[in-house]
């Protein structure tokens, strides 16, 4: 009862006119920043942080959290309408969101994304409210072996996502991981893989450089070549009746994915350093596995949009938990929020809930309000995003190319990366022609910098004994599940091959 009373006070606090206005502005700004390829919640929160010194700390964090929420909703928009994931958290949304848009069902994809995000956010808020201290303790028990096992599980789901050609999928994963290791060795600080001794590689390869190259350039070239420039995105229409029908369809076909994403996303988001990307990917993989017709995933299934979208929203709330209770940020955006809190004189950690009760519950209350405002603002803007799709392809295509290059530069501010985007784009175009799945590479470049140090720390802990991943109570089951997932397609293929041979002999 005490929690409900505190939460009620928090909601009332966030409904005060100034806070409500800040939520509305923050969510709308976040939506558009998140929808822009190359910009994400981290840019919005970082840029607008100085503005928050004009208002009291409670209102300031509410404003920044609203931007964070809006950007999480916005990430799906560029994934669905342009086919370019604006942030790593929205990569999995392109798998089914883009095919739906190409089939003229962009409205269904956008409505599904909005509703799933809302449910994911709400489930996460409730879990956050009820179990914050308990979950923070569980998160703390995740050491390097557990985090690496989790990364292994994420890579294992890639193998399932990549289709039948397992060598090409594994090659794609390894390529992404190697590209993610370019720059400096994180532990010794020595330069590593400075390719062709070009100094531009010293700062590593940003995830967005590969993502924009693959999706913004490569995928677009492929689409133009395959469709001979006659892309059918222009059939997208929007009406109130249509949106209601889309809502019914998204609930009917997307509920399972939403439920999986909401819970799985939250628990992965809570873990320090994991964040929303593995959460959204695992949710997509699990939703595909448990679907009645998994073969429809990747071709435009609402469940394939619902699972990652529910997960990334849920995880973004989950990532706040270790930040508030332990002072450990779960994502780059929460790291900036943490910095802001320290500047305002608040000390994140176990004492925060006791010492700054009004602040904490005001923030939690604002999560609920921001979530409602975000879904309303998002649904209200869907006609605008659909209108964008109705543009002739000969206008949309150059705009996507321009957004890719400009957005790519905005993210890294380096001309070396612009050329890399172009090279990755052309490489992706040709690799796609030969059925190489590229999404695993894009996701691997994000997870590689988490996976490598945790693997090295784990092996250091065990003096080089890999059994550490099997003997620890949390890491063990996760590692075994990952290995089963990795070898399952290979066993299936072998069986199929043996069955075929026997049939041929018979």
């Amino acid at each position: 009862m005490e929690i409900l009373s505190l939460l009620g006070q928090g909601v009332l606090l966030s409904l005060q006119p100034l806070n409500l206005l800040l939520i509305l502005i923050g969510v709308t700004l976040g939506l558009f920043i998140g929808a822009m390829p190359g910009l994400g919640s981290v840019n919005g929160v970082a840029i607008l942080l100085p503005i928050t010194f004009l208002v009291p700390p409670g209102s300031a964090i509410i404003f920044l959290a609203a931007i964070y929420y809006g950007a999480m909703y916005g990430g799906a928009i560029s994934s669905i309408t342009l086919g370019i994931p604006g942030a790593s958290t929205a990569v999995a949304t392109t798998f089914d969101g883009r095919p739906l848009a190409l089939q003229g069902k962009a409205s269904l994809a956008l409505v599904t994304a909005a509703l799933a995000s809302f449910v994911g956010g709400t489930v996460a808020n409730v879990l956050f409210t009820l179990f914050a201290p308990v979950l923070a303790a569980v998160a703390l028990s995740f050491g390097p072996p557990e985090i690496f096992a989790l990364m292994l599980l994420a890579f294992a789901t890639f193998v399932g996502l990549g289709g039948d050609d397992i060598p090409k999928t594994i090659l794609s994963i390894c390529l992404g991981l190697v590209l993610g290791s370019v720059g400096f060795d994180q532990i010794s600080g020595a330069p590593r893989l400075v390719l062709f001794d070009i100094s531009g590689f010293l700062h590593g390869i940003n995830f967005l450089v590969l993502a924009i190259g693959v999706y913004g350039i490569g995928e677009m070239l492929w689409t133009i070549e395959q469709t001979r420039g006659e892309v059918t995105t222009t059939t997208a229409r929007i009406s109130v009746r249509g949106m209601l029908s889309d809502t019914r369809e998204s609930v009917k076909r997307g509920w399972r994915g939403t439920a999986i994403g909401s819970f799985l996303g939250f628990f992965v988001g809570v873990l320090p350093a994991a964040g929303a990307t593995p959460g959204s990917l695992m949710s997509y993989g699990v939703a595909k596995m448990v679907a009645r017709r998994p073969e429809e995933f990747g071709k435009g299934h609402p469940g394939g949009v619902a699972a990652p979208e529910a997960a990334n929203n849920s995880a973004s709330t989950g990532a706040m938990l270790p930040m508030l209770t332990l002072g450990i940020p779960g994502s780059p955006t929460t790291a900036i929020l943490l910095g802001g809190m320290v500047i305002w004189g608040l000390v994140p950690g176990p004492r925060l809930f006791v010492d700054e009760s009004e602040f904490v519950w005001g923030l939690i209350g604002s999560f609920y309000v921001s979530n409602v405002v975000a879904v309303a603002v998002n649904l209200a803007f869907i006609p605008l995003f659909i209108w964008m799709l109705r543009m002739p392809f000969t206008i949309l295509a150059p705009m996507i190319f321009v957004l890719s290059i400009v957005g790519g530069y905005a993210a890294t501010r380096d001309m070396h990366d612009m050329w890399l985007i172009v090279i990755f784009g052309f490489a992706a175009f040709f690799l796609r022609k030969f059925d190489y799945p590229l999404a695993p590479a894009v996701l691997a470049i994000v997870l590689g910098p988490i996976a490598e140090p945790t693997l090295r720390q784990s092996l250091l802990l065990s003096s080089g004994d890999p059994s550490i991943f099997f003997t620890r109570p949390i890491a063990g089951p996760i590692t075994i599940a990952a290995l089963v997932l990795i070898f399952l397609p290979a066993i299936k293929l072998l069986r199929r091959g043996r069955g075929k041979t026997m049939a041929d002999e018979g």
Partner: protein, 167 residues
């Protein structure tokens, strides 16, 4: 497609070997009390890539992957033309950024694509060509405070006017 499949696998195998060699600049084995060396992660991953390339080659030889069975060309005449006119334009676009600024390059690319590839009328093409870079300027430089490349000094007078509006 069949030839293309094995050529691509060969190129990726060469890339894997290069990455393995490059990774050996740092220790690739286990160092006592330090754990795996700095080059171990990329080295062994590149080795797995090389094994995958060999498997792709084996599948090609057995004709089990769709591209290895296809007799179609990798690109037909439309594909090569598209790559030349669209892909080439993207290369020129990036090349122009340091000459006529990011916004100038955006304008030239949009004019080329909408007017000459898209065959839209001059009014629409010019409107997009002028409005888009200006909107981008105010969004990135004004709202997001992200500075884009300004090109060679001859673009300064234009940017001076625009900066006076912002500041």
């Amino acid at each position: 497609m069949r030839t293309g499949e094995i050529v691509t696998a060969g190129v990726l195998a060469l890339l894997s070997i290069y990455l393995m060699w490059k990774a050996t600049e740092l220790p690739v084995g286990y160092i006592s009390r330090e754990g795996p060396g700095g080059g171990a992660w990329p080295f062994w991953l590149s080795a797995i890539m090389l094994i995958c390339c060999a498997m792709i080659g084996l599948n090609w030889w057995r004709g089990t992957s769709p591209p290895s069975r296809s007799e179609e060309p990798v690109l037909d005449s439309y594909g090569w033309r598209m790559l030349l006119f669209v892909g080439g334009a993207i290369i020129v676009f990036v090349g122009l950024v340091n000459v006529i600024s990011m916004y100038g390059a955006v304008a030239v690319f949009l004019l080329y694509y909408t007017r000459f590839l898209g065959r839209h009328g001059w009014p629409l093409s010019l409107t997009l060509t002028i409005v888009t870079p200006i909107a981008f300027f105010f969004f990135f430089e004004g709202a997001m405070q992200i500075t884009m490349p300004k090109g060679l000094p001859f673009t300064d007078p234009i940017f001076n006017v625009l900066y006076e509006i912002i500041y």
